[in-house]
């Protein structure tokens, strides 16, 4: 269980300090599947990074299974079982997909690279020895990033817009994978997403806007709110948007 109490985050911007997160209070239970959604720039990724320790909270506290982790760095939190899949994962010259997955699983630990790659819709034979460099497309890189989290036994797994750059066919396979992990393990899952399809498989939706938690609740209760309160005023004229895209409802 993860408890976030009175948390705020202020970062130094070009024009002075910017308050990114304000008075966040949140309890995330084991085995639950949460989706953070809301407008761009609302604070979803920042909150994820504060949980991972990439950003240090300005005030407030974070408690994982009764242990205060507020002062801990990224490595220590990772070792306690928190994982974060980047929205835009970095590339590594010379490091192969297989090696990256082994690093994720931990030294000397057995890693089922083949199954992991299949779970994210990549043919293991084609990818296991590929370098995680610029020869990979953005979509391929994202899937490997997701696999690098699946390789670990985590208490809390955060996926930052896992659907971005992934084609629709693989995407349905991916949602199945997320559901499967959620059924199989006690891992608390957080997906940052705008996709209606991902929102539909969540146990709870947390709507974050303007650095605050606006709503938190079951999908059935939150989805209508998203539609009503935050929908785009140009929805009728827009040719790009569809009913399926949560981003239109901001």
């Amino acid at each position: 269980m993860l408890e976030i109490k009175n948390l705020s985050l202020t970062l130094e911007g070009d024009k002075g300090p910017v308050e990114i997160l304000k008075d966040i209070n949140l309890v995330l239970e084991d085995h639950m599947f949460y989706v953070f959604t809301g407008p761009n720039g609302g604070g979803k990724s920042s909150l994820a990074k504060v949980i991972m320790g990439i950003y240090q909270a300005t005030t407030g506290s974070i408690v994982l299974d009764g242990v205060d982790i507020t002062e801990l760095g990224v490595t220590e939190r990772a070792r306690l079982g928190i994982g974060y899949a980047f929205q835009q994962p970095p590339r590594f010259k010379g490091l192969t997909v297989g090696e990256l997955l082994q690093l994720a699983a931990g030294k000397g630990k057995q890693v089922k690279e083949y199954n992991l790659l299949l779970d994210v819709g990549l043919c293991p034979q084609d990818y296991i020895d590929r370098e995680v460099d610029f020869s990979l497309s953005g979509g391929e890189l994202k899937r490997i990033e997701i696999a690098s989290l699946l390789a670990r036994k985590l208490k809390l797994a955060i996926y930052d817009e896992p659907e971005a750059g992934i084609d629709l066919w693989s995407f349905s396979r991916l949602t199945e994978t997320f559901q499967k992990i959620n059924e199989k393990f006690d891992t608390t899952m957080i997906l940052i997403s705008h996709q209606e399809r991902i929102l539909s498989i969540a146990d709870e939706i947390i709507l974050i806007a303007d650095g605050r938690i606006v709503e938190k609740g079951k999908r059935a209760n939150i989805w209508p709110l998203i539609m009503e309160e935050v929908s785009c005023i140009n929805c009728d004229e827009c040719t790009e948007g569809t009913d399926e895209v949560a981003e239109c409802y901001r």
């Binding site: 990224v74 990772a78 070792r79």
Partner: protein
């Protein structure tokens, strides 16, 4: 291995991957003289009579064979100069493992200057691996100045892997290659310098023949106060292709200069160069730390991959 002590064996393993006497032809040079030598039916190693060094002659058509020619320097103050010539017969396919390790126990400089000449004959293929390594805690410098000249005849192919692992205080590498019709060359250079080390590498490839091609890939890491200069040049004299790529990670107070040059003297020469120097990206470190690695483990992992 007779005549070889523990230090020698450690060096041989580091620079030539040798645990025991290798299969095939070999020549081990220690402190200025050849101490063990073996020729095979297809590969002959003959000591030069006019100057120090050996002639390695690979018979035409010899395939799947290897030659190991490591050099060990374990005496302080030794200045070793050696001339090695390699004649790779037409249609042959060989692996040559060179490499020099210096264990300098004293305060005087130890130095090895190797001058290697290769002729890769018509249709032959050669893979050449050269690793340079220095060790020893005292003040004596470990200096390595290799000069390599390669001629690749029609349809020939050469792959050269030049690696400076660590501990070499001062190096000036000079590599020249001439490619004839439909000849191909791949040079990959890997270098790591730290402390106050200095490394300079010049590579000049002349693409003389029609449809010849060359790739020069240099990856280096400069740490501490070390300095590196790279000067790879591709000269196109015919319809040809060349790609020069220099990539460096800079750390601490290191200084790195990268000066790739491409020169076309023919309208159908297609030459490309790219060069980049930068720090390890913060995101790369963070990513590995989110997988439970400490910052220094993450750094080590990134560098090891980069120099692989």
């Amino acid at each position: 291995m007779k005549l070889l002590n523990a230090i020698d064996k450690h060096i041989l393993q580091t620079v030539a991957g040798m645990h025991d006497m290798p299969q095939g032809a070999y020549n081990i040079r220690k402190n200025g003289e050849g101490i063990i030598r073996n020729s095979t039916a297809n590969i002959e190693i003959i000591p030069k009579t006019d100057k120090p060094g050996i002639d390695v002659i690979v018979k035409p058509g010899a395939r799947g064979e290897s030659v190991h020619i490591p050099v060990i320097l374990t005496a302080e103050g030794l200045e070793d100069m050696v001339y090695n010539s390699f004649d790779i017969g037409a249609g042959a396919d060989v692996l040559i493992v060179a490499g020099c390790g210096i264990h300098n126990p004293g305060d005087k400089n130890s130095r090895h200057d190797g001058i290697h000449n290769f002729i890769v004959r018509k249709g032959a293929r050669m893979r050449y691996v050269e690793k340079h390594y220095g060790e020893g805690d005292s003040h004596g410098k470990k200096i390595l100045n290799p000069k390599t000249v390669v001629e690749i005849e029609e349809d020939g192919y050469a792959e050269m892997e030049l690696v400076q692992i660590s501990g070499v205080d001062d190096t000036k590498r000079d590599t020249e290659a001439r490619l004839y019709k439909n000849a191909h060359l791949l040079v990959t250079e890997r270098m790591l310098t730290d402390g106050d080390q200095y490394a300079e590498s010049k590579i000049i490839v002349e693409l003389l023949g029609r449809d010849s091609s060359a790739r020069i890939i240099s990856r280096s890491v400069g740490r501490d106060n070390s300095r590196q200069i790279f000067y790879p040049v591709a000269v196109g004299m015919n319809r040809c292709r060349a790609h020069v790529q220099c990539d460096a990670i800079i750390m601490h107070q290191a200084q790195i200069r990268s000066i790739p040059e491409i020169a076309a003297n023919h309208a159908d020469a297609q030459l490309v160069h790219e060069a980049a120097i930068g720090k390890i990206a913060g995101e790369q470190l963070t990513k590995l730390m989110t997988m439970g690695l400490s910052e220094s483990e993450a750094e080590e992992t990134i560098l090891r991959g980069f120099l692989k």
